[in-house]
Amino acid sequence: MPIASSKISFDGSARAAALSGNHSAAFVKTVDRFSVYTFLDTAWEAVVGYLGQEGYEGQATTLNLSPWIELSSLAPQQRLAIERLSRGLPYSIEFTIKALGQSITLQESGFMVGVDDKGQQKIQGFLQNITAQRQALEEMERQRLFYEGTLNKMPVELVVLDKTQHYIFCNKTAIKNDELRAWLIGKTDLDYCLHRGKDPKTVALRQAYFNQAVSTKQEVEWEEVQKNEFGENDYNLKRYSPILGPDGEILIVIGYGFNISDRRRAEIRAKEQDELIRSLAENVQEGIYRLSAEGKLLFANDAFYDLMPELVAEKMRKGISTDIADRVLAMLLDAEGKESGQEVSIDLQGRSRNWLISSRRTADGMFVDGVVIDITHLKEVQADLERKNAELEKAYMELDKFVYSASHDLRAPLTSILGLVKVMETEHEQKLEDFTAALPYVGMIKTSVTRLDDFVKEIIQYYRNNRTEIHHKETDLALLTQAIYDSLSHYRPEVPLKLEVVSHLETPLTVDASRLNIILNNLIINSVKYHDKPGGFVRTTLTHQKGHLCIEVEDNGPGIQAEHHTKLFDMFYRIGFDETGSGLGLYIVQETIKKLEGTLTFESSPRKGTKFTVKLPLQQV
């Protein structure tokens, strides 16, 4: 009976049957080769009727029952069903229809019973309302998601094992990687270990604990230490908790893992810290203590007690007050916060001790932490040093005095001899006496005496440069130079020289005048003493440039042969033509300039002349 164009009506009883729970109805339907229904029996009519249609017109296929059926889920099932029908196999389709605010899930199972001459397929089967079963399944799924979601979100590693230690479940905290987590189900720790290339030692240990839990049916707890990716130790508190069935048989074993690394590391750090403090307190030679804000002794190391007389220390350790202990504590409290510590002296049963106390109040103001050092010996050494220093200073002063008076006493007779020689020469020159025969000897006496006198002077200059502190004084260097020239004006009458001072200095400079006198005097004397050109010049140029004083002493004398250049400033070095020199002059000049942190250079060409250049840093005023 074709229905394609007929109006189908439904009675109430069929609708009721379709809606009733667990309804199952046999059906027969016919479809053409385009899957268009050509016949629907009452069971199907009930379904279609349920859809609330007054009538159903036109060509109907299951697909056409949209929008009441969720087609997206149906289409692949339908294709599979058609394919199975074509091969003569039974099929099954599930679909949900929505109407009147309700969802009903139906299962259609059927098989082809024959094809008529028009090619229409006759299908026989069952329609079953499986709404309740579906809802039960969905509820189960919801519950699964609820429990799994909850377990996965737990901050504790949680696994469920069967009694042979195969994984049934593993939460996300235990293994983050979804793939790996899925892989683990049905596997063992050993599988995991091999899979991940980890140390199987841990596995053996876990196995032992697992076996213990299973055999005793008791919870087992232990701590597992593993190296993490940064090479630090990770600490995990592990627990196997067997879940027993009604007959006391093991159903599953739940494994927990608590990461207690932070706590353990903090404990280890605290322990190390304690150890450090204990070690410091034991090994440090100074007395270390902590006082309460009121001055009660809360802590002290052995070195601290060692500072006290034995009996006092013994009582102090026990917190028993004694006269000395009270005095000491009062002193410690008094020294609190003193910048660079406080030196105290204390009489400990007749023994006088010197202590250096250095302490500070803690940031919260609750305690005073400090150190006591026994500086009694140090004090004695210091006093001894001070005394020795004073003695040395006195000795040096006496030595200075001795050197200068000795030099005076050495020079006095020399100057007398020189005076006498001079008188003889003058008297001879003025034809007052005839010393012709003696004159060469007189000349020799003069040379020797001059030489000895120069030597004495130079030794004193050398001694003075080493011994005297730098003493700055405002000085007119042009005047100083002129005074040196003046003293040399008739030094060598046989070689008259132009002695020039070229000063670019605008004001007197603050310099070590006596050292500058030594420098200028020696350089100028050298130029004058060895000059070989009557009418020649000696020129001293004074310049002030960039915080430096520059002194040039230049002459057009004989110059210095290159072979002497490197040794010129050596002690006792003399150039051949220098018969009277001591070889100290330039050495002293150099040493003096060194003392003033300056530099000395020279240029010289044989037969043309020499120029010495001195550069001295000027004192910042």
Partner: protein
Amino acid sequence: MPLPFEKHKFLLIDDSDIDSIITSKILQLSGLPKEQITIRHAMPALDLLGSELEIAKVGPLSEDNPLIVLLDIHMPEMNGFTFLERFDHLPAEVTDCCKVFLLTSSIDPTDIERANDNRYVVRVLNKPLNVEELLLYFL
């Protein structure tokens, strides 16, 4: 050579006889000074300068016609510096007419500095006396 010292008068204060002789001789040979007094100790020299009668014997003195004092530093009893301290107490008429030179063989820098700091000391000269150097202060 001009004889500029002809008009000057000299007072030598030196405990060493030999040095006194040498200095006088050098002065004489360089052009005889008009008056030359040699005293072996500082104290009598001060007495002389402090006594109008004695000073008068030396002759009329003025700033242009001064008494040139050549004073040794190291002397027994009273040294050159003590002399200068006492000298300071003499009347200005006397001190103004004196030009004091220290003539010494000392090269102790403390001596020389101390001497240069003294307002009466014109110059420290080294023994033996170099007349040409002395001359520079009178040209």
